[in-house]
C-alpha cells in the first residue's frame, strides 16, 4: 500500500470572478521510502501539491490519503498535530529563527512532543551530528553560511523522526558546492534512514538525485520518469 495516495486531487482559488486551479484532478501514489522530485514551470502546481502533502494547505476536492488517513478532512488543529508527527519541511530560504541558536532551532519541533529534556538533547545532538554541524550547535543563524543554515534546517526537519520530508527548492538559494552537499545529505536521509522525500525543484540536475521525477503543467501530471538510482546522481555530481 502506498504511503501517499492522491485521488482526483484538486485545489481551487477564487480571485474575484475567476477560479484558479493550480491542481486539477491529480492522481498519484508515492511509496514509503521514495525520493520524488516535482518539476514544472512556474504555476504548474508543484508547490501546491507539495503544500497539500505537507498539510499546510487543504484540497478543494479529491482525496489525499497519507498512511491511511485522509488529511484533507482533518480540522485545522488536528492537521497541525498531524504535521508535527508526519512532516519535516525544508524551505528554500531555510526559515531559521534568527534569535535561536542552531541547537534551539533544531529543538523546536521536538517541543511539540512529550519528550523528556534528556532525550530531546540526545535527539538534537544526533540530528546536528548527522548534518555535520555538531560543533556549531551554539551558533546563531547569522553566524552560519547559507549551506550550513540549510543543514540546520534539514536537522530541524528530521529531528522529530517524521515519515515524510518535503523540500521546496532546497538548493535554490545555494551555490553549486553547497547545493551538492545538501542533495547528498537528503539522499543519505532517504537511503539510510528510509525517509520518504518529496522535493520541488526547477533544476533538472538537482532532480536527478531523486529516484523518480514528476512533471506537472497547468495543474496536471504530464510526465513521470524514473531515474536509475539516486546514488548515480550523487556519483555523477561528485
Amino acid at each position: 500500500m502506498a504511503l501517499i495516495e492522491c485521488r482526483e486531487l484538486t485545489k481551487e482559488y477564487r480571485r474575484g470572478e475567476n477560479v484558479i486551479r493550480p491542481l486539477q484532478e491529480l492522481d498519484l501514489e508515492v511509496e514509503a521510502g521514495a525520493f520524488l522530485a516535482l518539476m514544472g514551470p512556474s504555476g504548474s502546481g508543484k508547490t501546491t501539491l507539495l503544500n497539500l502533502i505537507a498539510g499546510i494547505d487543504q484540497p478543494t476536492r479529491g482525496e489525499l490519503i497519507i498512511d491511511g488517513e485522509d488529511v484533507g478532512k482533518l480540522s485545522r488543529s488536528r492537521l497541525a498535530a498531524w504535521r508535527a508527527d508526519y512532516i519535516g519541511y525544508v524551505f528554500q530560504l531555510y526559515n531559521l529563527v534568527p534569535v535561536l541558536t542552531a541547537y534551539e532551532n533544531v529543538e523546536l519541533p521536538l517541543l511539540l512532543h512529550p519528550i523528556k529534556r534528556r532525550e530531546r538533547h540526545e535527539r538534537v545532538a544526533t540530528a546536528l551530528e548527522l548534518v555535520g554541524l555538531a560543533d556549531r550547535h551554539d551558533h546563531y543563524p547569522r553566524q552560519l553560511s547559507g549551506g550550513q543554515e540549510q543543514r540546520v534546517a534539514i536537522a530541524r526537519a528530521i529531528v522529530a523522526d517524521p515519515r515524510i520530508i518535503v523540500a521546496d527548492e532546497p538548493t535554490g538559494d545555494l551555490d553549486k558546492p553547497a547545493a551538492h552537499a545538501i542533495m547528498n545529505l537528503l539522499t543519505r536521509l532517504n537511503q539510510e534512514l528510509g525517509k520518504t522525500m518529496i522535493m520541488v525543484t526547477h533544476d533538472a540536475h538537482t532532480a536527478e538525485y531523486a529516484a523518480r521525477t514528476l512533471h506537472l503543467d497547468k495543474g496536471r501530471l504530464v510526465e513521470s520518469g524514473a531515474h536509475i538510482a539516486a546514488g548515480a546522481a550523487m556519483e555523477a555530481a561528485s
Binding site: 503544500n51 497541525a80 524551505f91 534569535v99 511539540l112
Partner: protein, 388 residues
C-alpha cells in the same frame, strides 16, 4: 496544546532595540498616566473624606451648608451647645466643642509682595486639638493668643506657592495687613487641614474685624446626631444647621466629581492614543515575521500557541514599562503636593492606584498584541511562507 518556549518570546524582544524601547516607553507612559490620574483622584478623595470624622458634627449658619467659609454664627453658640446638648464627649472637664473661624485670605511671604494665594486660615481654640485628633504638631509649638502667631499645615507652603524654607518656623507670613510669625508646623495626614494655617481664634477675629465665628465642631460621646440636630432646630434664634462633618466633606467630594471625571477622561483618551501607538509597534514587529509564523505553523505549532507567544512578548515589554512606571510613581509621585482651589493634598500611591497602573500597562500589552497577531495569523500558511 504545546507552547513555544518563553525564551523565544524573550529573545524576540531583542530583535529591534528601537521597537522594544518604543513598546517599553509607551507602556511606561500609559501606566504612569493612569497612576498619576488615580493618585490624584484618590489623594483628593482621601483628603476630603479623611477630613471628616464620623463622630464630629458641625454647627454652622443655616443656608451655608455648602461652605463653612460663608457661614457666620454667634460666638456664643459654642458655650450654648456645650451646655444644652448632653452626651458631648469630654475629657478632664474639657468638652469637645471647638468654635472655629474659617477664612480664605490672600497670604504672602513678604510684606511688599503683590502676588498672593488664597489660603484657608482657621481660627482655633484649644478644643480644636480635641475634635481634630489627626493634627499633630511636628515642628515648633502651637500659636499663643495675642502674639500674632500661626501654625502651618505640612502642605500649606504648596498652597501658597512658597518653598518649604520660606514657610519654616521662625519666618513670617503676611495677611490682613500684618505679619504673622510661624511658630509651628503640623501634620494632619490625608486631610485638607494639611493645607491650612491655624491661628488663635481671637487673634483672627480681631484681625478680620469680625465678631462672629464660622462654625462649632463638636464630637459626639453618648449623644447622637439627632440631639445636635434637635438643638439646631429648636434654637431658631441662632439660625443654625447641623451637619455630620463626614457629610460636609462628602458634599465636597461630590462637588469635585466633574474634575475627577475630566481627569479620568483625559487619562483614558491619552491611554487610547498609547494603545494605537502600541498596536502600530506590535503590528510592525509581527508583520516582519510573517514567514517565521508560517514556518512555525508548518512545524506543527498551532495558531493559538503562536498567538500566546506573541502575547507573552508584548506583555513582557509592557510589564517592563509598567514596572518602571510603578517605581517612578512611588519615588516621584507618592505624597507629591498638589494645589487645588480648596487647598492642597498629596498624591496617593496606594495599592488600588498601583494595581490600576499595573493593570493599564499590562492591558495595553495584551490588547496591543491581539489585533496584529490575529491579522498575521489569519494569513494562509503557504502565503505566509512566501512573504518577504
Amino acid at each position: 496544546m504545546r507552547l513555544l518556549p518563553l525564551d523565544y518570546a524573550v529573545r524576540n524582544l531583542g530583535r529591534s532595540p528601537l521597537r522594544l524601547a518604543m513598546s517599553v516607553v509607551g507602556a511606561m507612559l500609559v501606566a504612569l498616566l493612569v497612576l498619576t490620574a488615580s493618585a490624584f483622584v484618590r489623594g483628593m478623595e482621601r483628603s476630603l473624606i479623611g477630613s471628616g470624622s464620623l463622630d464630629n458634627v458641625v454647627l454652622l449658619g443655616a443656608g451655608s451648608e455648602e461652605s463653612i467659609e460663608r457661614s457666620e454664627i454667634k460666638a456664643s453658640v459654642a458655650s450654648q451647645a456645650a451646655a444644652s446638648i448632653h452626651g458631648i464627649r469630654s475629657q478632664l472637664g474639657q468638652a469637645y466643642v471647638s468654635p472655629e473661624v474659617h477664612m480664605a485670605l490672600p497670604v504672602t511671604g513678604a510684606p511688599d509682595t503683590t502676588t498672593s494665594n488664597q489660603v484657608l486660615i482657621r481660627g482655633i481654640s484649644a478644643a480644636a486639638y480635641l475634635v481634630h485628633p489627626q493634627v499633630r504638631i511636628v515642628d515648633g509649638r502651637a500659636p499663643r493668643q495675642g502674639a500674632d502667631e500661626i501654625m502651618l499645615g505640612r502642605l500649606a507652603h504648596t498652597r501658597m506657592g512658597l518653598t518649604e524654607d520660606a514657610a519654616s518656623v521662625g519666618r513670617s507670613l503676611y495677611f490682613e495687613d500684618r505679619a504673622w510669625k510661624i511658630v509651628g508646623r503640623f501634620d494632619a495626614p490625608g486631610t485638607v487641614m494639611n493645607a491650612e494655617i491655624w491661628t488663635p481664634l481671637n487673634d483672627l477675629m480681631v484681625a478680620a474685624r469680625r465678631d462672629t465665628i464660622s462654625c462649632v465642631v463638636l464630637t459626639l460621646g453618648d449623644a447622637e446626631f439627632a440631639d445636635v440636630d434637635a438643638f439646631a432646630k429648636t434654637r431658631l434664634d441662632l439660625e443654625l444647621t447641623a451637619l455630620p462633618e463626614a457629610d460636609y466633606y462628602g458634599q465636597l467630594v461630590a462637588f469635585y466629581t466633574p474634575v475627577r471625571m475630566m481627569i479620568w477622561l483625559t487619562a483614558g483618551l491619552i491611554a487610547l492614543c498609547g494603545l494605537f501607538g502600541g498596536l502600530n509597534t506590535m503590528y510592525a514587529a509581527f508583520v516582519s515575521r510573517v514567514r517565521e509564523i508560517g514556518m512555525l505553523q508548518s512545524l506543527g505549532y498551532s495558531r493559538r500557541a503562536i498567538a500566546i507567544s506573541f502575547a507573552q512578548e508584548s506583555l513582557i515589554a509592557a510589564a517592563c514599562g509598567t514596572l518602571i512606571a510603578a517605581v517612578a510613581g512611588m519615588m516621584l509621585l507618592d505624597g507629591l503636593a498638589v494645589r487645588i482651589s480648596m487647598g492642597a493634598f498629596g498624591l496617593r500611591m496606594d495599592t488600588t492606584t498601583l494595581m490600576l497602573g499595573l493593570g493599564a500597562g499590562l492591558l495595553l500589552g495584551l490588547i496591543g498584541a491581539l489585533p496584529p497577531t490575529v491579522r498575521c495569523l489569519r494569513m494562509p500558511i503557504p502565503a505566509a511562507l512566501k512573504a518577504a
